[in-house]
Symmetry: C2
Subunit: 134 residues, 2 copies
DNA sequence: CTCGGTGCAAAGGGTTTGCATACAT
DNA sequence: ATGTATGCAAACCCTTTGCACCGAG
């Protein structure tokens, strides 16, 4: 009953470089623009549209994660395993990352019949440096 | 040294209705558009711009919360106290809400010198109804 | 009477998409 | 040779903003 084709994926230089750019960014969680800038250093003619398309594809394939935290632009994440993040409201950097301790909330959600596929814990505040600067 | 005026706030019908609309939405976490639609039933001439301005002001005053989860539009929250949410990826509803159990992550962040002002735990998955329908 | 809030409409920024071409298979 | 991925640019959507008028204080 599989009506739709598996949609095989061609391996292009652009796709590989977009993935590499996200992975190389470490815990920075780059925006699409940042990935664009990085890939451009190698492929000057790449377009922003292509970057978005590849980011979406990689996310759909579960190779990277997309996080919509606080700001207006999405951020892309090389790790797919659930992680907690700690964002600085001032400089926007991700200061800290750890494997999560979901605790009671996940259990409660499951009890409510929810099929939990993942979660994201985001902490808001100020990093050490910005606290000092203020 | 207070150069800027405290910026006193006039109470207008629009402001009151925007707040009421967010509060009346319960745990739906309405978008700006939804708030707009609701207030419009009472004040047909209100503009979307005014809704956004009042939502921002209410958030700045700590009277409502703003959540940027998953989708492209922001969602507004009548509760300011930290809460965990459980979003359905299919229908978008918030299925469940609970006071959080921050656990080790908050402690770890504080240890790293971070000034934690709040947090948000979002669970992704499918609600009971959508799981059945699929 | 004052000046902050409103309505309207246009601008803004991030993301998506249509189309002809280039290229992986 | 075939059809997918690309580059380019226009379209989209949500949100913000400039401006003249309105109305709370």
């Amino acid at each position: 009953m599989a009506i739709e084709t598996p949609a095989i994926q061609r391996s292009t230089r652009q796709l590989a470089l977009v993935l590499a750019a996200v992975q190389a960014s470490g815990r920075e969680h780059p925006t699409a623009e940042a990935v664009f800038a990085r890939v451009r250093r190698v492929l000057p003619r790449i377009s922003l549209g292509t970057v978005y398309r590849n980011l979406q594809r990689l996310a759909a394939d579960g190779r990277i994660g997309i996080a919509h935290v606080g700001g207006r632009s999405a951020r892309y994440d090389p790790t797919i395993t659930p992680r907690d993040h700690c964002l600085c409201e001032q400089c926007g950097r991700n200061e800290y990352e750890a494997t999560p301790t979901p605790g009671g909330s996940v259990r409660a959600a499951k009890r409510a019949g929810h099929q939990v596929r993942g979660h994201a814990l985001v902490l808001f505040g100020r990093c050490r440096d910005c606290t000092r600067a203020a």
